[in-house]
């Protein structure tokens, strides 16, 4: 076999048929983005899409594959956001002889410290890239830690109890961030050092590219994970945990691992979002936005199917942004009785969840039942069996 053939088959193995349409769509979107640059609304929609795509895929890993009712998705996002808001900036401040202790987050000092850090970051490519990577690693570690921590008391519980405990934990984490002003400023937003400052005018376009690349890598990773032995054992636990335990799968261990991986991925999304907005505040991370919206995305797309999840995020986040952007043109009549049409966002969320449950329980792209072995191998086994039968 020549090296060229080897490369081809490697590539074939790396990018499967399912991922081709996603790649095409993403490339089309990105070309559109680069040709129509300077339109902030489109950039916002794109960033929302990519961030929520990562979060919803991580939710799909825990809920769709492992069957853990993750009603506390916000907890991991918060962990990533707080870690990026609190730690990397402090480390740089330490080396620049700026205040780095609890007073780093104080509102009278923070707005003077962060621009100095930004000036330093804007002066060096290496430092900017290093800062970004370090932030993401810190976010992932924080997310994994939180995922492990919440899995400890809760993982053995029955599904609904587990969901409630996760929900309560997410809420609690938000209140901690809101009240502990030494970490990320409490009720006052704190500024986050910006590693994209070096791109000056093109900052937003570059951020969109980076978050898209991150989302795409998560997509590839999720597909790999779903087809790995680990993915199969997760699905087996989801379908029937008793029979999975009988087959020798450590149920608690696999569930914990899925929570840790999912939380780390969601935390990376939280960190990227905080870097994109440039500020971090605890009240910005409500369960409404960061838990229930991803649930709606996932349910519309189809629980357990990564491609469907992407489709759900894409359709719904466009619809949601449309309501936010055109609310006065389309729903101006509500303003006449004093009602802000912004609330229609929640109406949409509720209607989507109810409608999907009642009329489309498996979502737009239902999960496909995949054979344990790749199709090629299954065919080979069948052929061998047929041959044996003929003889």
């Amino acid at each position: 076999m020549t090296t060229e053939n080897g490369l081809k088959s490697n590539l074939k193995e790396f990018i499967t048929r399912k991922e081709v349409p996603v790649i095409v769509i993403i490339l089309a979107l990105l070309t559109y983005l680069l040709t129509s640059r300077g339109v902030p609304i489109i950039l916002t929609i794109f960033i929302d899409f990519a961030v929520f795509a990562i979060i919803t895929m991580s939710l799909n890993l825990e809920t769709g594959y492992a069957g853990v009712p993750q009603f506390g998705r916000v907890a991991a996002v918060i962990a990533g956001a707080f870690a990026v808001g609190a730690i990397p900036g402090r480390i740089l401040a330490r080396f620049m002889d700026l205040p780095y202790g609890l007073d780093y987050a104080s509102d009278t000092i923070n707005f003077r410290v962060v621009p100095e850090i930004n000036a330093l970051l804007a002066s060096s490519w290496l430092l900017s890239i290093g800062f970004l990577l370090f932030s993401l690693v810190i976010a992932a570690i924080a997310g994994a830690a939180i995922g492990w921590l919440i899995s400890r008391p809760a993982i053995r519980l029955k599904e609904a109890y587990l969901g409630i405990s996760l929900l309560a934990f997410g809420d609690f984490l938000m209140w901690v961030g809101h009240n502990w002003s030494g970490m990320v400023g409490g009720s006052v937003p704190i500024y986050v050092p910006d590693p994209f400052r070096i791109f000056a005018v093109d900052r937003f376009t570059v951020i969109v590219l980076v978050i898209f690349v991150a989302a795409f890598m998560v997509f590839i990773y999720m597909n790999r994970l779903a087809r790995s032995p680990f993915g199969r054992s997760m699905r087996m636990i989801r379908d029937n945990d008793v029979s999975a335990a009988a087959a020798g799968i450590d149920v608690v261990k696999v569930r914990t691992q899925s929570l840790v991986i999912g939380s780390a991925v969601a935390a990376i999304a939280g960190g990227l979002y905080v870097i994109y907005t440039g500020t971090c505040t605890a009240f910005g991370f409500q369960k409404l936005t960061w838990t229930f919206w991803p649930w709606a995305f996932m349910m519309l797309g189809g629980i357990g199917s990564t491609f469907g999840v992407l489709l759900g995020v894409f359709l719904l986040s466009i619809l949601r942004s449309m309501i936010v952007i055109f609310r006065y043109q389309w729903f101006g009549f509500l303003l006449e009785i004093g009602i802000d049409p912004l609330w229609l966002e929640f109406t949409l969320l509720g209607v989507v969840i109810i409608g999907v449950i009642l009329f489309m329980p498996h979502g737009l792209v239902p999960e496909k039942i995949e054979p344990m072995l790749p199709r090629r191998n299954v065919r080979r086994v069948l052929e061998r069996k047929n041959l044996a039968g003929e003889k």
């Binding site: 519980l157 969901g163 409630i164 809420d171 609690f172 901690v176 802000d340 509720g350 109810i354 449950i357």
Partner: protein, 312 residues
């Protein structure tokens, strides 16, 4: 009576009713009702609207609050829950459906608050209901009336469940839906009654809680973990356990925050949610079936047995 105890009693009566509502709906229909959050907030807004527009004390609007909550429950049952129960949906699907209903109601609450602001020039986004309260025997009337109402509801429910024919049928359905169906009990009407009582209790609980805390459109959204904590503490098995669990969660929170802030200073206030959550986590770890699962009779039996052993 100390001020913290008074507000604690009011707040825990509200939590008792909402946790009881969650338990009621769970034991009959297997549905973890998220919509309790918005039903409670709606209950608060009904009493607020009544007081603001027609005057008087908040208490005289409680019948309407209960009726409106029941109305919301009936809509949820006929629009959503019934179809899913017939389809034998999974517990998580049932829970998600009520979450969707809750978000729908939340958007209506926000719109209603906007409407009140615009049309009647009120300020419905930050309400302190206790300014409409009056004094009774030197303390806030709510601290006496609301626990009494909660106890009255408990007694009425007990009589309903044990003394009436329909109540007995309801208990039979809770114990064994298949068998009760086979003996001619219409489970549909049992579920409907559960939603009527549960919805009413949730709305009433919300209007109770607003007497002790600031009423906002997201009040229910922020307190829903505590309501669930109460129901879980009660073990999600019996109605009385649920109400007791809610009451315990509320009173522990107020007592804990009061004693701890005396010890460590007022910053403890910000982390008050930790107390009920720790209580819930401890319950889940130690007694996974809640207060009702604690083998009280066995424990007492053991103690008395050893005593008897010592005596003889």
């Amino acid at each position: 009576m100390a001020p913290w105890l008074a507000s604690g009693l009011i707040y825990s009566s509200g939590l008792a009713l909402t946790a009881g509502s969650i338990t009621m709906i769970y034991i009959t229909t297997r549905t973890f009702n998220f919509a309790v959050a918005s039903m409670a907030t709606f209950g608060f807004y009904i009493s607020y609207t009544g007081v603001e527009l027609y005057g008087g004390a908040p208490y005289q609007y409680y019948p309407f609050v209960f009726l409106f909550g029941s109305f919301l429950g009936i809509i949820c049952y006929f629009g959503l829950n019934r179809h899913l129960l017939r389809r034998k949906a999974a517990e998580i699907t049932l829970m998600m459906s009520t979450l969707g209903y809750d978000l729908l109601l939340l958007s209506f609450i926000q719109m209603y608050a906007d409407f009140l602001t615009h049309t009647y020039r009120l300020f419905p986004r930050r309400v302190t209901m206790n300014v409409y309260d009056f004094e009774l025997f030197g303390i806030r009337a709510a601290a006496i009336i609301l626990p009494l109402i909660a106890i009255a509801i408990l007694i009425i429910l007990h009589i309903f469940l044990t003394r009436t024919k329909f109540g007995v049928a309801m208990r039979a359905t809770i114990e064994n839906p298949v068998l009760s169906g086979a003996s001619g009990i219409n489970s549909d009407s049992v579920y409907l009654v559960a939603w009527v009582i549960g919805g009413g209790m949730a709305a009433l609980g919300g209007s109770f809680m607003a007497m002790a805390m600031t009423g906002t459109p997201v009040m229910g959204m922020y307190t829903i973990p505590l309501m669930f904590a109460g129901a879980i503490l009660g073990g999600l098995g019996s109605l009385y356990g649920g109400m007791l669990g809610g009451f315990l969660i509320g009173i522990t929170e107020y007592a804990g925050v009061f004693t701890l802030s005396q010890q460590f200073g007022p910053w403890v206030q910000g982390y008050r949610m930790a107390i009920p959550l720790i209580l819930m986590a401890a319950t889940l770890i130690l007694f996974p079936r809640g207060l009702a699962g604690i083998p009280l009779g066995k424990l007492v039996g053991k103690l008395t047995a050893t005593k008897r052993g010592e005596n003889t």
